[in-house]
Symmetry: C2
Subunit: 394 residues, 2 copies
């Protein structure tokens, strides 16, 4: 047996080539208040995420205001690495205390981004006149296998941080505050590990299919201005964005039995380098018209990058801000994992257009299933001392 | 509403006081091969863990040898930050390739620790004469609420790393190798985030009840020699250790409604400082005999630290190496989270003795449930070029 083991050890390993992400500084902070967008959208993706949606359980608009005010105050403090209030209060307090598990951990670049679902703008709360013009439920999309228990919600909370305990603590305490008000209850949640999208200056990370994800993601300010931020409508909507989330299960055990050459064709890229099949380097522009010696396209028309490319979608681009997730093992003992896809765009129809094509034709569909979904409007950041979406109520 | 938000923001936050764990260097490695214990036991706990158990599905001892040899070879390479083999092999390969998602991430202090369950030493494999003398199923313990689906296993894999994707990748590829051999299948798994035990030189982290966990954990070599390592029996068992794992669900929403003073009494410590109720600093020695002005003990006899303290348990100590976990939301919409407890000791009866007391009397039992369990013998590290437990077969 020693010979067997030695022989295997002799397979030349692909040495890893660590990029610029080798040192993580957990003392960094982002501001919550501002004059434009909320943090957590154009912010360079942190290493961990905790996402949760809530159903409103109150019919009073004032309750919604109080909840958003309490959340805003708590988020502002947590993003600075402070606790929400005392960890050992002398008197019991329903709201102004902190569960304590992030104490001593540092801010870890925490951002908490709040989204408003369609029901917020229903007649119940007298806010129908404030409805962001493009907010609505997503239409039924090809290949949808949505589980109602992983779909929808009236409010969304996206916490991202370079320490998962900091992200978990933030959502846990916001859920606790929501419960204490009686105004909202938890609906569904996903914890993400390992960012699967790159921001400006970041190396491109890999999803659990082993491929680099987000090579052509939006990174430049001009791209955010064009594709992400809402620029018109009432002031409280400007520099908001439409948030679409999808829990995408990946059948990674099946994927792992597929040959690398097939996997490359499914994506249209080389697995190791991330280069398009028509190029040699990750950031080479894919040539969707290139054919091989037999006249066949080098990047198949059903390849993931061919269907998703802006060149083939009227120039449309969306910001992806995804994370890998695992749910452990499924009932068959197979690894249950996937991608928690989050995107931001100034029109949810842009996501729908892309997913309509991908859901119908993507070679990847054999290996993935969209099992959860949500759509929200992420309003701009509150001004100092205000709470999120405060102007919406006036 | 602005006034309300401003008032809350005015609650003086408990400023976080980051310790020495603010910068994470992902280029660090630990050796897999060695002359004594496996890595991942006395190694300072990394920030993330992925634990999985497997059931053996073969009756041939040679298959078990091959599996342990393949795993050993793969682990040795991954712990150096290398892939197991090629990520884009020209020819399909069942074993000597890598799924790729940890490429470019760096080794991140990865350790993978293998444990052998009781069935390994059954007559099936002709290994009953090699049975570690103290290995057996744990006895039924007070308050056990074990779910068979989260209990047991013939092999355990504990991967710990400072990057969760590195830990996940390791277990995923070992599961893939196991499946390809047909010799073992997955049984249960827990992903941990945020170490909940301290090693030498590390600050004490917090569990999801917000309390520092592991203040009195083993840290010194002499303590490991006395309480952790097996020192007798055949050579292949020396510097092995008995691994006990428990998935402990915490009812954190109930906990959060309890007053801090009650919580402090449940643990016998102050939540913020971690000091025993009889002291003022975290590492002050608890005085279990101290009484207050009315003659009542300051640390209640049912407090967690009173029941667990070595002073009250014939001097017995065990090494804890736990992680926080979350399973999202339960069917009632409550936060489903807890502690993935792992301990190492040179006699599993030591764990049983402590848990017998804790399970019967611990004030904490109102808030926790032991739902998963496993026991394994973690053999020593293999010598260079050997595979784990190789000498056991000779």
């Amino acid at each position: 047996m020693a010979a067997h083991a030695a022989a295997l050890a002799g397979v030349p390993p692909q040495a890893s080539a660590p990029g610029g992400d080798d040192v993580v500084d957990l003392t960094q902070t982002h501001p919550f208040y501002g004059d434009a967008q909320q943090a957590g959208i154009s912010t360079e993706p942190q290493r961990h995420s905790m996402f949760m949606t809530f159903d409103l359980t109150t019919a009073k608009v004032g309750d919604l205001q109080v909840l958003l005010a309490l959340w805003s105050s708590a988020i502002a403090q947590m993003m600075q690495g402070a606790t929400i209030g005392q960890v050992e209060p002398k008197q019991p307090s329903a709201v102004g205390f902190d569960t304590g598990e992030a104490l001593n951990l540092g801010p870890a670049s925490l951002t908490v981004t709040i989204g408003l679902g369609p029901k917020v703008f229903s007649d119940i709360y007298g806010l129908s006149h404030q409805m962001p013009p493009l907010l609505r439920e997503l239409k039924q999309l090809p290949s949808d296998q949505l589980d109602p228990a992983l779909t929808g919600g009236d409010l969304s909370v996206q916490a991202c941080a370079d320490d998962p305990q900091v992200a978990y603590h933030a959502v846990r305490d916001l859920a606790r505050i929501a419960k204490s008000t009686g105004s909202a209850q938890t609906r569904w949640t996903v914890m993400g590990f390992g960012r699967a999208s790159a921001g400006r200056g970041q190396s491109t990370p890999r999803n659990l299919l082993g491929f680099k994800d987000g090579t052509r993601n939006l990174k430049e300010d001009a791209e955010f201005e064009q594709f992400v931020w809402v620029k018109d409508g009432p002031a409280w909507q400007r520099y908001g964005s439409y948030q679409v989330v999808r829990k995408i299960q990946m059948h990674i055990e099946n994927w792992d039995t597929d040959r690398a050459s097939d996997q490359n064709n499914v994506f249209g890229r080389h697995k190791v380098s991330g280069a398009p099949l028509t190029g040699t380097k990750e950031f080479d522009t894919p040539d969707f018209k290139k054919v091989d010696a037999t006249g066949n396209p080098v990047i198949l028309p059903t390849a993931h990058i061919a269907l998703a490319a802006f060149e083939n979608n009227k120039g449309i681009r969306i910001l992806r801000r995804s994370y890998n997730y695992t749910d452990g093992l499924n009932q068959f003992g197979q690894l249950d994992a996937g991608l928690f896809f989050m995107s931001y765009q100034n029109d949810p129809a842009h996501f729908e257009m892309l997913q309509t094509k991908l859901g119908a034709s993507d070679a990847l569909n054999e290996y993935i299933a969209h099992i959860g979904s949500g759509i929200f409007f992420a309003p701009p950041a509150p001004k100092e001392g205000n709470y999120i979406a405060q102007e919406m109520f006036s």
